[in-house]
């Protein structure tokens, strides 16, 4: 008796001792878990803070205030100039003249080049457009806000940085001029509409995502029109009609494997079969949409099957019971009920296609596109490829543009995914 109680107390002591160790292990394990979750959340935060920190500046662009004198002599026009001559006039000279007037005479060729280098080369086209639209401006003066060069833009934006301004290629003389302009409030940051409407450009201050966005829209339209109906049809067949045999099994294995094939392989498929064999033109939304449709098809089939599966069998049995044919059951009852789930899957598939880059590189969608594509067979590029192209550009101003384009892309993706979640919440029925 006595002996036994001693062993119990001994065991209890042993357990007590081991318990402390086991609880420590428990706490440690818990902390590992918390650390893993926090690490993941930190990665999300770092990614977003980094991109937004780099890219928010691109939504505003530096403009310089200049007084332009539409002088015939400077433009190189004769006294009796016809309207057609206006197209050939020397508009950059107008800007040079305005800058010289503002800062007094500048001696030396290099100094003059530095001076006129502060204004973007696109400003001359603006003057041309204004004069051609309104020839009566000739001989008058007007003050305008003109787009600044990208180096100036980067410098002006970096002035507020704590680590000191980034001068880059801006010379000391140019800094002095800019200081004079800033003191008299002749430099300002303006919302950058240009970024959303214009196409790609070698000059960062003129580059925009307009053409890439349009290219993405056209490409995704083709993808949606092909992948959604075909994906839904395949899902309906597999869920509602397919007999249980080796062929069906083979189809299912294929679909599951295709969903996990690296996206770049689909680019090889597009290049070898669609371009080289079927002679689909390269660099156009048509081929991009085809490749992305093939790529997203498995995703859409899998999510559509899940949506069809969630429709309870009682619905089908009731319809069959009152004399509907299998096709009528599907078309009248299963499909309408499964549609919210299918649409959710389609939106998620489209989001995946919108962010895809690698296969599009293979089929020539890396072209330098200035014009906004107007149709499915116009050369085009898409947003992620535009990001890839800009990320490769050496100009510092393109870092800002790239990050801003990423912000736009992420905004599209987040909107699409939120829409998918809302759709699911709103329309999905619990049976």
């Amino acid at each position: 008796m006595n002996n036994r109680s001693r062993t119990t107390s001994g065991a209890a002591a042993l357990i007590q001792k081991s318990l402390a160790r086991r609880y420590r292990a428990e706490r440690r394990f818990r902390w590992y878990g918390i650390a893993a979750v926090v690490f993941g959340l930190l990665c999300v935060a770092t990614l977003f803070v980094d991109i937004i920190g780099k890219g928010h500046g691109a939504f505003r662009q530096t403009y310089l205030h200049l007084t332009i004198d539409y002088d015939r002599d400077v433009l190189g026009l004769s006294a009796t100039a016809a309207a057609s001559e206006l197209a050939l006039a020397d508009y950059p000279a107008l800007i040079k003249q305005a800058l010289l007037q503002r800062f007094g005479e500048v001696s030396g060729r290099s100094a003059r080049r530095e001076l006129s280098g502060m204004v973007s080369s696109s400003a001359a086209y603006l003057l041309q457009d204004r004069l051609q639209a309104n020839p009566s401006l000739l001989g008058t003066t007007e003050t305008l806000w003109l787009l600044a060069d990208d180096d100036v833009d980067t410098y002006i934006k970096s002035l507020r940085d704590r680590g000191g301004a980034f001068t880059g290629r801006v010379s000391e003389q140019q800094q002095l001029w800019l200081k004079a302009l800033r003191d008299s409030k002749e430099v300002r940051l303006q919302f950058n509409w240009n970024f959303f409407t214009s196409g790609d450009s070698r000059e960062p201050e003129q580059a925009g995502i307009g053409s890439a966005t349009m290219g993405s829209v056209l490409t995704l339209l083709i993808t949606l029109l092909l992948a959604f109906p075909i994906g839904v049809a395949a899902a309906v067949y597999l869920e509602e009609f397919a007999p249980k045999n080796a062929w069906t099994e083979f189809i299912e294995v294929n679909i599951n494997n295709l969903a996990a094939v690296p996206s770049i392989i689909f680019g090889l498929l597009g290049l070898a079969i669609l371009i080289n064999f079927f002679h689909v033109p390269r660099s156009v939304p048509l081929i991009g949409g085809l490749v992305l449709a093939i790529m997203t098809l498995p995703t859409i089939i899998i999510s559509s099957r899940a949506a069809i599966k969630s429709v309870p069998p009682s619905i089908r049995e009731a319809a069959i019971g009152i004399g509907a044919s299998p096709s009528q059951v599907v078309l009248h009852h299963v499909l309408p009920l499964a549609m919210p789930g299918m649409l959710t899957g389609a939106i998620i598939g489209m989001a995946q296609a919108l962010g895809e880059t690698a296969p599009l590189l293979m089929i020539g969608m890396v072209a330098f596109i200035v014009d906004i594509p107007g149709g499915f067979t116009d050369p085009a590029t898409v947003l992620p490829v535009q990001i890839f192209l800009w990320a490769d550009s050496p100009e510092r101003a393109f870092v800002e543009k790239t990050s801003a384009a990423i912000m736009v892309l992420l905004a599209f993706l987040i909107t699409m995914n939120t829409a998918a979640v809302m759709l699911r919440r709103k329309l999905e029925r619990r049976w």
Binding site: E26, A36, F241, I251, A358, M362, P384, I406
Partner: protein, 462 residues
């Protein structure tokens, strides 16, 4: 007739056929005492008529549009005189291009061989004839189909059955597209790879230690002899994937365990979607992040520790790739862990095991096959990932296991070899397809094994 207007008239005919077919069935049913004496609803008679009208015509149109161009150019070329006949594929394409530009008026006929100008005229004439023929043939086919459907129509006809047969056939066709895609991928990489292996032996490709795909353009050119030993690429790919897995597996697994077993439902409902964001971020964004933020950071840290770090280190690309794969691993692991029956948990806890002991000794072993399957899928994803490595890893093929060095991967080489102009007769371009074949085979095997393991595991607890 132009193709768009032909298409529109075909569609109009099909719609018309539907209405006429439906009307006729109603008319046929009227003497019998109403629509209910028809075998099928009038709708199905209409659909049947429009199917007969449209389907053969559309098929003909599609086939014609695919095959008319090569056919016409072959006819045009064969009618040209002997001395102008092209000798190679490139020459042939060039000649066809020239003829087409002449025909469309983009090129002036001045100073062009009269035979070529003749061919351009020939082409225009043939195209015109072909267009006429196509319009007539499709429209006649549509009419014949419709008349056949109209003529065979009777109240006893099983129209619904026939329409549903076509409907089911169309569905089956869509489902079989998946097989067609796989076949297309396999054929496209296989054929070009076979052409590549005719110039470079397979054993040299798979065991060679030197990768420099620049081939000489002229025979007497010095340097750039081209060597296609893919081992450095395989090693680089595996190195970066290994680094990625070192990040993704512990972080993904532990966060899945924490969120599934410990976290309160509020934490779970916030943390899970936020982590899922990582899966939705496009890879090009990760590539930008890796190249501009992580790589300089890694280099600064390395320089601080007086290590020499390449500016395009494998470490930076691998780390970012790992972060990308975290949600992939964690959602797969979450599924698997949730599938372990609650009874096993209860039994372990009832015996006095702590929560973490239950997880480590009961749940984890039970979920292991599923987790292994998930990790294999993640590995296949890491191997096939392209944009991160294209933007953040190097181009030079170096045989090293040092994560601070720049390495290149299979996918990077495919992209660099195939972006821009390609000549499909040089081993340089074809080698990309050989690399693609390797990538496809390896990822396919990994996926098949992984999917099988996961499936078997699921069946175990169902």
């Amino acid at each position: 007739m132009e193709t768009p207007s032909l298409l529109i008239s075909l569609i109009a005919l099909t719609v018309l056929a539907f209405y006429i077919g439906r009307q006729r069935s109603i008319a046929q049913a009227a003497p019998l005492g109403g629509v209910r004496h028809l075998q099928s609803l009038p709708l199905y008679y209409g659909v049947r008529a429009s199917l007969w009208c449209g389907l053969p015509a559309f098929l003909l149109l599609a086939l014609w549009l695919i095959f008319d161009e090569p056919l016409i150019s072959t006819v045009v070329l064969s009618s040209m005189p002997e001395h102008l006949q092209p000798h190679s594929l490139a020459e042939r394409n060039l000649l066809i291009n020239q003829i087409e530009n002449l025909a469309s008026g983009a090129l002036s006929t001045e100073g062009v061989d009269s035979a070529v100008a003749q061919a351009a005229e020939n082409l225009l004439r043939l195209k015109h004839i072909a267009g006429m023929l196509l319009s007539v043939a499709t429209l006649v086919l549509a009419l014949v189909g419709f008349i056949w459907a109209w003529w065979r129509m009777s109240p006893r006809l099983r129209a619904r059955y026939q329409v549903e047969l076509v409907f089911k056939g169309a569905l089956l066709l869509c489902a079989c597209l998946a097989i067609l895609t796989t076949l297309g991928i396999a054929l496209s990489v296989l054929f070009e790879s076979l052409r590549f292996f005719q110039t470079v032996p397979f054993t040299d490709f798979i065991t060679g230690l030197n990768w420099s795909p620049q081939t000489a353009i002229r025979a007497d050119q010095v340097g750039g002899s081209g060597s296609f030993g893919a081992v450095p690429l395989f090693v680089g790919t595996l190195l970066i994937s290994f680094i990625a897995m070192c990040v993704a597996v512990p972080a993904g697994l532990m966060s899945a365990i924490y969120l599934a077993e410990y976290a309160s439902s509020t934490v779970r409902s916030v943390a899970k979607p936020v982590l899922e964001i990582l899966a939705g971020v496009p890879t090009v964004v990760y590539g930008f992040f890796a190249a501009l933020t992580v790589a300089p950071f890694v280099r600064d840290v390395g320089t601080g520790l007086s290590l020499s770090v390449s500016s395009e280190s494998a470490l930076a690309a691998g780390l970012v790739m790992g972060v990308m794969i975290i949600p992939f691993v964690s959602s797969l692991a979450d599924d698997v862990i949730s599938a372990v029956p609650q009874a096993m948990r209860d039994g372990s806890l009832a015996l006095g095991a702590t929560h973490s002991e239950t997880i480590k000794k009961v749940i984890f072993p039970a979920a292991l096959p599923g987790i292994v399957g998930g990790v294999l899928l993640a590995v296949s994803r890491a191997i096939g990932e392209t944009m991160i490595v294209v933007m953040a890893a190097g181009l030079a093929a170096r045989l090293t296991l040092n994560p601070l060095d720049a390495v290149t991967t299979v996918t990077v080489q495919i992209v660099t070899l195939l972006v821009g102009d390609q000549e499909f007769d040089s081993p340089k371009t074809l080698s990309a397809f050989a690399l693609g074949l390797m990538l496809f085979v390896v990822t396919l095997l990994l996926n098949m094994v992984a999917l099988k393991v996961v499936k078997r595991y699921r069946e175990q607890y169902e």
